[in-house]
């Protein structure tokens, strides 16, 4: 990567694949200070559908990486995350989050267990500096080493039911042995010892590979993945499709469904919250909140009347009074519906409850629907 890791907003950052995106004709946008492709000439809808039915590839090198290793790495990771990292086997990953003492979110993370006391966190682009500072500060009393590795990897996501077929052509690792949310290491495109994780942010099967960040290598791997995927109709996909894919799957986005003012209980992410493990940051508040109960909760909405509820739009009750807010809303390309994630009071959170979404001054009807909106079909 061409910029320094701790230079937060002054300079627009570019991934090693920036020139490739431009050559492919991508529309570029500033995303959290990164110059990233939002869509390619095929268009967002085509990209979204490629991932649902075949395969699409994404440059997600803007995501950050932190490694925590050393004698007390496990207790350190247990202290700063809400899931139970002791349950992870070597080669396994888990969805987790780092929390503030209030039980709200520093960031959500994927924790990979490299060794007994060796963990690798994948973190969000927009929270990189905050996260690394948080991890350093809150692991200080443990005997472990914290490394900020965000600029060491070009991270390429190969997503969709045919992702496995594409990547298998390029690696000696037996991908049929790698289950969802597990990882392995292998030779990829001739590069040895590459991290290959069966993870993603599309609500689809897929892999994320972490290759060296120099431009020549990054471009070569990207182009080889595209070439290998040609027979499966692979499309390069931008952040636009990444957002609609994750929205259909109800995957949280930091700054939207989760933030420093939303608790784990409210976000409905308690499936990954392990209250039975030892102390961790946020636990005490979460215990109290569990007793008190929540007043608002994250629900899925589907527009009944014509209109698209967008991020930040107001949610209204039957009298037109604001009762909540849309956190993410869009046309959903696979479902062909207009959907939202929104925080609403419990009184309006039951499936089939009807609310209004304020669109350009009008209350447009929507109803609460079960989530995730999309669940990938089981494949043998």
């Amino acid at each position: 990567m061409s910029s320094t890791p701790d230079d937060s907003t002054a300079v627009i950052r570019k991934t090693a694949l920036n020139a490739v995106h431009r050559k492919l004709g991508a529309k570029m946008v500033d995303f959290n200070g990164w110059d990233m492709p939002v869509e390619y000439p095929a268009g967002l809808i085509a990209e979204h559908l490629a991932v649902r039915s075949g395969v699409g590839i994404f440059d997600v090198s803007h995501m950050g990486d932190i490694r925590v290793s050393g004698r007390q790495a496990l207790p350190a990771v247990q202290h700063i995350t809400m899931n139970d990292a002791s349950k992870l086997q070597l080669g396994q990953c888990q969805y987790s989050a780092m929390l503030y003492p209030q039980g709200t979110f520093v960031d959500d993370v994927i924790v990979h267990r490299f060794g007994e006391n060796d963990f690798f966190f994948v973190i969000n682009a927009g929270t990189r500096e905050k996260d690394i500072a948080w991890v350093r500060e809150n692991t200080r009393s443990f005997d472990c080493k914290v490394e900020h590795l965000s600029d060491d990897f070009t991270q390429i996501a190969i997503q969709g039911p045919r992702g496995v077929d594409v990547l298998q052509k390029l690696t000696d690792a037996d991908l049929s042995k790698v289950k969802f949310y597990w990882f392995t290491r292998g030779t990829v495109c001739g590069l040895q010892d590459i991290l290959i994780a069966r993870t993603g942010y599309t609500a689809e099967d897929g892999f994320e590979i972490y290759v060296p960040t120099d431009t020549a290598t990054s471009e070569r791997v990207w182009n080889e993945v595209l070439a290998a995927g040609k027979e499966f109709g692979v499309l390069p996909c931008g952040l636009g499709a990444r957002n609609t894919l994750r929205l259909e799957g109800k995957l949280a986005l930091y700054g939207h469904e989760i933030s420093d003012s939303i608790t784990v209980w409210e976000a409905g992410l308690d499936r990954w919250l392990k209250m039975d493990k030892a102390e961790f940051i946020g636990r005490r508040s979460l215990e109290r909140q569990q007793t008190d109960g929540v007043t608002r909760t994250l629900v899925g909405l589907e527009m009944i009347e014509r209109g698209i509820g967008r991020d930040g739009y107001k949610v209204l009750d039957e009298n037109g009074k604001q009762i909540g807010q849309v956190t993410s809303g869009s046309y959903a390309p696979f479902l062909k519906k207009n959907i939202d994630l929104a925080y609403v009071p419990l009184s309006h959170a039951k499936v089939d409850a009807v609310v209004g979404v304020e669109i350009r001054g009008n209350a447009v009807k929507a109803k609460v629907v079960p989530t995730p909106f999309y669940k990938r079909p089981k494949r043998s």
């Binding site: 967002l44 014509r306 698209i308 869009s330 046309y331």
Partner: protein, 129 residues
């Protein structure tokens, strides 16, 4: 895509075709490209009054919401209902997929608008080419 010479254009990327005292309104190829996949078009009903330069409705892609500004003043006589169910037609054929037909209240206003050649130049400058 070439910009048809029989249309007039706005700097907000609408086009209008004038036939007698009727104006036919749509958005340009440049607009549809900038928006991406169009999934929603919201237009006024027949009888509504338009004022040149004022918002008449919205067009939404998956990513973005954008106002449509009236290229000329008048009264809406017809709305292209097809765009309710097939908004993607605006992407496929921007200068054919009309949105509104309007009875112009002041046909002279159209003189303020850009010719195809001038609009093309304007768009090229906006793109920094």
């Amino acid at each position: 895509m070439a910009y048809p010479a029989d249309l007039k254009y706005t700097k907000e990327h609408e086009w209008i075709k004038v036939e007698g005292d009727t104006g036919i309104i749509g958005i340009t190829d440049h607009a549809q490209k900038a928006l991406g996949d169009i999934v929603f078009v919201e237009l006024p009903k027949p009888g509504a009054t338009l004022t040149q330069g004022k918002s008449l409705g919205t067009v939404e892609s998956v990513k973005a919401v954008s106002d449509i500004y009236a290229p000329a003043s008048g009264t809406v006589t017809e709305v292209n209902q097809e765009l309710n169910t097939a908004p993607e037609k605006v992407n496929a054929d921007p200068h054919g997929a009309w949105m509104l037909k309007v009875k112009l209240s002041n046909p002279g206003e159209v003189k303020n608008l850009l010719s195809a050649a001038d609009y093309e130049k304007f768009v090229a400058e906006e793109d920094g080419h």
